[in-house]
């Protein structure tokens, strides 16, 4: 290893993966399907969300392929509508929402707080099964012809004007919702009640704080989506107007209820990703996160404000001008904590000792792209510019910058960061750095032209578009192929590393979190004995002292 790295691996000639670990403890399919171990459930989640990510990704590829030409020539308009609807539904409910919390969060949160498991292991397993049932229903929806409501289920379109599988899609999302409710509930209980001795709230890693904030949103927001979908399904089957004005319903009621969940949902998606970035930036710059309390409270602030901004999705929908005013102001307020986070991460680098391993590269990607995504969110939060930009490709580009440029980068950063802990082996560094670079370039090529398209007025969800928009669409589609390569690479080399990667040892990154102070992969009960937290989070001096002591005692 060169000087410009912090990676410290055990001697490869003698190092072995510990014989007893959570992966090797029991064998056989049943030992996985009936497990209560949070790390095994996280592994199940990792496999399942990767599966759905690639389905959603393939659908995205179809969308970009269709948009190469202005006419709807590859697919009929009807098919295109189904493709983008399924892309949205799968990516939002089956990838983004569970990605960091249910996968990485599930794996590390109990270790971070110094517990043996989540508070409710059976509920944790139940939430994975609910996810699988929901996923199965979604695949069934797709196999039997798909659904073309868009992921937003807009009424009365979804309740009375379409004859695709709205009911099975709605119920799939309903079930997936309960999966995320149970995950969030489990996290909150664990963080409140399972912290090890000495682990005060302000010694928690920031990843725990941000997941805690996201869990509050899951627990309070998702039930509203659930009942809304029940009402949609009932309205569709019984033909009574709750949402359809032709039958005496209120179409804006649906919008209010849906966005009451779905706006906080974007914070459910991004907050855990922000937590990953805090961990990664601190570890690879060897410094405590700048302004720990500010970052921690900004997560909570986002969660709280996040509940009171939903109507900014409805500025042009005939809510009163004054309601728009209030919601616009609150939207501006929710943008501030995100800015605080970005600057705190940047200043964490100051006076650090920075190395550039893959997780850090993804984190840099996140910071750049999320800044763009966040700033363009302000364009849409300001009522005046929202009128022109909403419902165009501008908004598509905006949320892809936040969700793909932000969240997916954070997810990949986290997967690489905790991969040695998870599997006990390192991923190959050079090729993964290349993948991070390809992803970043491909991403910008794909989504930046969409900002211009949106400003020019190209509406979203169009199978065919006026020919003058073609050039930018071709750029975007070309970028998507690069992006596709960027996403395929990790799955290849990560799989490869399962067998051939270098042995990682306990703490390859020299990180301070409790999860790094135990063997990799960890024992089923995480720690041989429950740890006592006797230092602040991100205390690298403490870590150095520990290592000195160890050297001294061995020597």
């Amino acid at each position: 290893m060169s000087a410009a790295t912090i990676v410290s691996l055990p001697d490869q000639a003698t190092a072995r993966i510990p014989k007893m670990n959570f992966l090797s403890k029991e064998n056989g399919l049943l030992s996985w399907l009936l497990t209560g171990d949070h790390k095994r459930i996280a592994t199940l989640y990792l496999i399942s969300i990767t599966f759905f990510f690639f389905i959603g990704g393939a659908l995205a590829g179809l969308i970009r392929l269709e948009l190469l030409t202005p006419q709807s020539d590859l697919m009929a308009a009807d098919t295109y509508n189904k493709v983008f609807s399924m892309h949205g539904l799968i990516m939002v409910f089956f990838f983004l929402v569970p990605s960091v919390p249910a996968t990485i969060g599930n794996f590390v949160i109990p270790m971070m707080v110094g517990a043996k498991d989540l508070a409710l292991p059976k509920i944790n397993l139940l939430s994975w099964y609910l996810y699988i049932v929901a996923g199965g229903m979604m695949l069934y929806t797709m196999a039997t012809g798909g659904v073309d409501t868009g992921w937003t289920f807009t009424t009365p379109l979804s309740t009375h004007y379409l004859n695709s599988n709205v009911i099975s899609a709605g119920l799939a999302v309903f079930v997936a919702g309960f999966s995320s409710i149970f995950t969030g509930l489990n996290f909150i209980v664990t963080i409140h009640k399972m912290r090890c001795p000495g682990m005060t709230w302000f010694r928690l890693p920031l990843f725990v704080w941000s997941n805690y904030a996201a869990s509050i949103l899951m627990v309070l927001g998702t039930p509203v989506l659930a009942i809304t979908l029940v009402l949609v399904v009932l309205e569709r089957t019984v033909h009574i107007g709750v949402f359809d004005p032709a039958m005496g319903g209120d179409p804006l009621l649906f919008q209010h209820l849906f966005w009451f969940y779905s706006h906080p949902a974007v914070y459910i998606m991004i907050l855990p990703g922000m937590g990953v970035i805090s961990e990664v930036v601190s570890t690879f710059s060897r410094k405590r996160v700048f302004g720990y309390t500010a970052v921690a409270f900004s997560s909570v602030a986002i969660a709280v404000f996040g509940f009171f901004v939903w109507a900014h999705h409805m500025f042009i929908m005939g809510i009163s001008n004054y309601a728009a005013l209030v919601f616009s102001l609150l939207t501006m307020l929710v943008a501030v904590p995100s800015a605080i986070k970005i600057f705190n991460w940047a200043f964490t680098l100051y006076n650090g000792s920075i190395t550039f391993e893959t997780p850090m590269l993804y984190a840099f990607g996140f910071m750049g792209l999320f800044t763009i995504g966040g700033m363009t969110g302000v364009f849409l939060g300001a009522t005046g510019t929202d009128i022109h930009l909403t419902e165009t490709y501008f908004i598509v580009a905006h949320f892809h910058f936040v969700m793909v440029g932000g969240m997916l980068m954070a997810f990949l950063s986290g997967v690489h960061f905790w991969w040695p802990k998870w599997t006990g082996r390192m991923y190959p560094e050079k090729i993964s750095q290349l993948a991070a670079l390809i992803t970043f370039i491909g991403f910008n090529f794909t989504f930046f032209p969409q900002f211009i398209l949106g400003t020019l007025g190209m509406p979203r969800r169009y199978a065919a578009y006026p020919p003058e928009f073609q050039a930018l669409n071709v750029f975007s589609s070309a970028g998507a192929t690069i992006l596709g390569v960027g996403y395929l690479l990790p799955i290849l080399y990560l799989t490869w590393s399962l067998k051939y990667g270098e042995i990682a040892g306990e703490n390859p990154w020299q990180a301070t979190g409790l999860e790094w102070q135990t063997q990799s992969p960890p024992l089923t009960e995480n720690f041989p004995e429950i740890p006592i937290m006797d230092h602040e989070a991100y205390d690298y001096e403490w870590l150095a002292r520990q290592q000195q002591k160890e050297v001294a005692s061995v020597g």
Binding site: A115, K116, D117, L118, A119, L120, P121, I123, I181, L185, N186, I188, V189, T190, H192, K193, M194, C196, P197, V219, L220, G221, T222, P223, V224, A226, I227, T228, V230, L231, L234, T237, V238, H239, I240, G241, V242, G248, G249, D250, L253, H256, L257, E506, L514, Q517, T518, E525, F527, P528, E529, I530, P531, I532, D534, Q546, K549, E550
Partner: protein
């Protein structure tokens, strides 16, 4: 092993090795286990509040828009049965609370008695509810499946209700909105009944476990948490009763 994971103090470690059989392996102490599950139950009830909250929002908007239809729709409900059911539920909450108390006092016989009573009262509630629903079916007040607005266009055609309330006929457009009322009536009471059915199912399971003495050896967490759920379902009804049955009376 690195020193970082210093051993917890002796008593904790001891407790870990000599814990009672009902303590799950990942908890350090029984009280931690109790705290955690209890807290989880409260959180779950919070999600339930949000879940019903969506329905109540829809109800409030519709009621505000179509008040006359909601008033006459509510006249179709039997306040007698509604009151009876309210009493049954409040009673069952009392027996449930007594059940929790018996479990805390480790009195198996009493626990079985109170759980059984709660179980029966739950069934009585559902029985009365089904009588009411059946009546709606008979009078064609089931939206989507069997609906007629006759009772509202021409109240005199419904002599029983007419004798009590002397409702004026609703205009046709308003009369058609009574379907919204009954839709919400069925959605809300149906969702509530679904919670009752789940509760009764769990009660049955608890009675079987209680017979084996599962809750009277000091570990009554499950009974206590279920009690919270049961009281919650009861409270939902306390809101539903005036909102659906007593619209013009307060």
């Amino acid at each position: 092993m690195s020193d970082s994971t210093a051993t917890a103090n002796g008593t904790l470690a001891e407790a870990h090795h000599e814990h009672p059989p009902y303590q799950r392996h990942h908890f350090e102490t029984v009280s931690q286990q109790f705290d955690a599950t209890n807290f989880a139950m409260w959180l779950f009830l919070l999600t339930e509040v949000m879940f019903f909250g969506g329905l109540f929002t829809a109800y409030l908007i519709m009621r505000n828009w179509y008040y006359p239809a909601f008033v006459e729709g509510s006249h179709q409900l039997s306040i007698f049965w509604g009151t009876a059911n309210t009493t049954v539920l409040i009673l069952s909450s009392f027996t449930m609370a007594m059940g929790v108390w018996s479990a805390q006092m480790k009195r198996k016989g009493m626990l079985l008695f109170f759980l059984g009573l709660t179980f029966v009262l739950g069934l009585v509630f559902l029985g009365i509810k089904s009588i009411e629903w059946h009546e709606k079916w008979e009078k064609s007040h089931v939206p989507g499946l069997r609906y007629s607005g006759q009772s509202f266009l021409n109240p005199a055609s419904d002599p029983e209700v007419y004798a009590e309330y002397h409702d004026k006929p609703l205009a046709p457009d308003m009369a058609s909105k009574t379907e919204q009322y009954f839709f919400l009536y069925f959605a809300m009471t149906g969702m509530h009944a679904l919670h009752m059915v789940i509760g009764i199912g769990i009660l049955g399971f608890m009675i079987i476990r209680a017979k084996a003495g599962a809750y009277t050896s000091g570990h009554y967490t499950f009974v206590e948490n279920f009690g919270l759920y049961w009281h919650f379902v009861d409270i939902i009804w306390i809101f539903l009763f005036p909102l659906l049955y007593l619209i013009s009376r307060y």
